[in-house]
């Protein structure tokens, strides 16, 4: 008997049983890609510059408040670009005090000082800018993950891609517009006072103090189906934001039947601020602003102590539900834009699976028949090896949670054609050795031995290209790289080790072998 026969047989048995164990039941263990099961693939770009700009704005506001408290008069303080604040003092006399106040902003460097003119610039440090950009993407990712979880999607993929991109894959979701609205909404909720000293007409002509801005409310007239935009003059400074929110629930709108509203509840801090704000501004109007749009601007009748508010705005139940989700999950630190979108409907995915299975089956049948006709018994051995190869390929994909895509199916069909190459190399070599007059047993021995290095070489080249492809590719193409790689790696075992074992069992074990069927 050849060496270690039983060890080798047990190894094959372990591999087969292990494969079956990982694979059972196949409908649940194999991950299908979005192109096969349908769903949405999105790549979002995070506008990290805007996060930097908003932090710069905040710093400018802080500095302005500090200077005002110290009684230092300013001619101008404004953001210039994304990361620079320009400060101009009313008079150079307070220069030293102003510098002391400015040095408290540790994230900024002072530049272009001009004491005579009372002017300097604060530039955000490079390290801080990079940190903020990174934060914007990380927080954005976290927020989106939170929203998707609350929305309820089975097995979503949400990962960072490169510096400022977020990849989102939602299998089985087909309402694209709704999913995109849910994910892409910045959801910055702000409470801002109306500036009732300035009339809307004047403001629209451009006579607006720089502490104010014009925001619009959109109202859809349900009968005429037309949209109206109502302008409001509001103070730029937000008194309270969605960051101070703990709950957001959907309710029926009592004042407008068929419409829904979202009731919100503040944190302890939020409740205190809301109480103070409402107390100090009784009689004024408070605008509820979401992503720059006014939803309502009710009059404050009295101090509101309980920390509750309601957002109304002609919502359908789904809109209200999604709004509640995004408010609970929090605002994105920076706006996002859709860079890439791929949506596949469920029927197309089903068609692709059907055609893919046909291609794999047909390819397997042709190669099986070909090998059988050309190599007889040896061909049968190769075919059993091929079957083992496919089993191992699917089991590896299940075990590592790899995703099967449509190009991945093409990769499997191609693997069938390429994997028998190993057997062809060996068999051709055995035939040659037989031709020069070797006995069957030593021909088999020599065939396997001589073909080994070249088999390693041929595998290495295709495996290297598959790795490059995996590195480069996105979703579907990666699936192709994966099945090609795993399929070929498995063929080293199935086409070399396993068919060698079968040969040994059939020919080498016996005392006398007259001829080999090859």
């Amino acid at each position: 008997m050849p060496r270690n026969l039983w060890q080798r047989v047990s190894l094959v048995a372990v591999v087969v049983l292990g494969s079956v164990w990982f694979l059972y039941p196949p409908t649940r263990t194999i991950n299908l890609g979005l192109d096969l099961q349908g769903g949405i693939h999105l790549v979002l770009g995070v506008e990290t510059d805007k996060h930097v700009a908003s932090q710069t704005d905040r710093a400018a506001e802080d500095l302005k408040a500090t200077l005002e408290r110290k009684g230092i008069a300013l001619r101008r303080i404004a953001r210039d670009g994304d990361a620079t604040v320009v400060v101009e003092l009313a008079s150079p006399e307070s220069w030293n005090d102003a510098l002391t106040a400015a040095s408290e902003l540790q994230n900024f460097e002072r530049r272009d000082e001009d004491q005579a003119a009372g002017r300097f610039r604060l530039v955000m440090r490079e390290r801080v800018i990079n940190q903020l950009r990174d934060d914007a993407v990380r927080q954005g990712l976290e927020t989106i993950r939170n929203r998707v979880d609350q929305f309820g999607v089975a097995e979503p993929t949400i990962t960072r891609q490169g510096n400022d991109r977020i990849l989102i894959q939602l299998p089985g979701i087909h309402d694209v517009a709704r999913a995109k609205a849910l994910i892409g909404k910045t959801a910055l909720l702000e409470f801002k006072l109306l500036d009732e000293r300035v009339s809307v007409e004047e403001a629209l002509k451009g006579n607006l103090p720089d502490t104010d801005e014009i925001l619009y409310q959109r109202r859809v007239d349900p009968d005429a189906k037309s949209e109206r935009k109502i302008p409001y003059v509001v103070q730029k400074r937000a008194l309270l934001t969605g960051a101070e929110l703990t709950r957001a629930e959907v309710q029926a709108d009592p004042n407008s039947p068929g419409n829904w509203q979202v009731s919100i509840e503040f944190t302890a801090t939020g409740t205190r601020i809301f109480g103070e704000v409402t107390e100090q501004n009784v009689g004024k109007h408070l605008a509820i602003v979401l992503d720059g749009n006014v939803y309502s601007a009710p009059r404050i009748n009295e101090r509101i102590p309980g920390g509750r508010a309601v957002i109304t705005g002609q919502f359908t139940v789904n809109e209200a539900r999604d709004l509640a989700i995004v408010l609970r999950a929090g605002a994105l630190p920076a706006p996002v834009t859709i860079l890439e979108e791929r949506t596949v409907g469920p029927s197309l995915g089903a068609d692709s699976i059907r055609q893919g299975l046909i291609a794999i089956t047909a390819s397997a049948v042709i190669v099986f028949v070909f090998m059988l006709v050309y190599y007889r018994v040896a061909g049968l051995i190769a075919n059993i090896g091929l079957g083992l190869n496919l089993l191992m390929l699917m089991a590896c994909m299940a075990a590592f949670g790899a995703t099967l895509t449509l190009p991945g199916i093409a990769g499997i069909a191609l693997t069938i054609g390429m994997a028998v190459d190993t057997n062809i190399l060996i068999f051709e070599r055995i035939r040659e050795e037989l031709q020069v007059g070797k006995t069957p047993r030593s021909a088999i021995e020599a065939g396997f031995r001589r073909a080994f290095t070249i088999i390693v070489d041929t595998h290495a080249t295709v495996l290297v290209t598959a790795m490059i492809l995996y590195n480069f590719g996105t979703g579907p193409v990666r699936g192709f790289a994966v099945s090609l790689f795993v399929g070929l790696a498995a063929s080293l075992f199935s086409a070399y080790f396993f068919s060698r074992l079968l040969f040994d069992v059939m020919y080498v074990g016996r005392r006398k072998v007259e001829r080999v069927s090859i």
């Binding site: 949506t343 047909a362 070909f370 190009p407 199916i409 069909a413 001589r450 070489d457 490059i468 193409v477």
Partner: protein
């Protein structure tokens, strides 16, 4: 026993000039076609834009679809039948309006036109300008990295000369595949790129088998008295049946993908199909032949310089 070839001794290398001419002519046609058509036709993966795949309940007339799109100012879209008379692909170039808006308008327009019947949106793809540009660059890197890795591998396992010749052969295969794509008006997409990279691996694979045989033969001194050209020819002949058999099985697989794999995979399968043929051809006629020519060129110079030394 069925045998494709019994002790073949075709004079492949001797006829290499014909092969050089044939390849040069085909690639020249390809370059001409590329120039005439203004370069490769990029799929939206690389060019950016919006693609919508729709299926109607009844086969519609393509002019009806066009008329509907003209009504919403999307008349310059490309409309193509896609594998089935009821199924169409509508491609729109990048516009200022976002993909969602475009899709919504197309869907509304198609469903509101009663003469088209019921319509189902089966696939929507939008690729923004940044993504497309990034991918174009990455695609070039991927192909170059693939070629470089193969060069290094062969240089390491055999020699630099063989590596360079194999890479030229593989590059030839890439050019031939691109020519075939351009001549058949197919688009260059991500999956076509994947096919090209696979071809790079596959084609080198064949070449290595021939080189390996050449080295083995030289080690055994059985070929004493043969010129390098004859040695290479012998090695190619000895590995010929394996080359052709493997090419056949892979060829079957790709042919089946091409004809039964469905419309989405068609371009990828086509590239693989062409690649298998040219990959096999280039092993025999380009990679082997180039090593022979290079070797004789180097030996010729060596001999000349020796003569010069002797004269002096």
């Amino acid at each position: 026993m069925i045998e494709l070839f019994r002790n073949p001794s075709y004079n492949f290398i001797g006829r290499r000039s014909w092969a050089y001419i044939a390849s040069a002519v085909f690639i020249a046609i390809g370059i001409a076609s590329l120039v005439a058509k203004g370069g490769l036709k990029y799929d939206i993966d690389f060019a950016g834009g919006t693609l919508i795949q729709v299926r109607f309940a009844e086969p519609p007339r393509i002019e009806r679809i066009r008329a509907t799109l003209v009504a919403i100012q999307l008349g310059d879209s490309v409309i193509q039948e896609f594998g089935d008379p009821r199924e169409f692909i509508i491609r729109m170039p990048l516009t200022a309006t976002n993909a969602e808006e475009v899709t919504r308008r197309v869907q509304a327009a198609l469903t509101s036109d009663a003469s088209l019947g019921k319509v189902e949106i089966r696939r929507v793809e939008f690729v923004g300008p940044q993504v497309g540009r990034d991918l174009q660059l990455q695609a070039v890197y991927a192909v170059l990295t693939g070629l470089l890795c193969m060069l290094l591998y062969i240089a390491f396992r055999f020699d630099l000369k063989g590596g360079v010749a194999a890479i030229v052969a593989v590059f030839h295969d890439v050019l031939v595949s691109l020519t075939a794509l351009s001549l058949t008006d197919r688009e260059f997409s991500l999956s076509v790129l994947a096919a090209l990279l696979t071809i790079i691996g596959y084609s080198v694979n064949d070449t290595i088998v021939a080189y390996d045989r050449l080295r083995e033969n030289r080690g055994k001194f059985v070929l004493k008295g043969q010129t390098f050209e004859q040695q290479m020819n012998t090695a190619i002949n000895q590995t010929l049946s394996r080359t052709v058999l493997t090419a056949l099985t892979v060829f079957f697989s790709t042919a089946i993908l091409l004809f039964f794999g469905g419309k989405v995979l068609e371009d990828m399968a086509f590239t693989l199909f062409v690649g298998v043929i040219t990959g096999t051809y280039s092993t025999v006629y380009i990679a082997g032949a180039l090593v022979v020519d290079w070797t004789s060129f180097v030996e010729g110079r060596f001999r000349r310089s020796k003569k010069a030394v002797a004269k002096a």
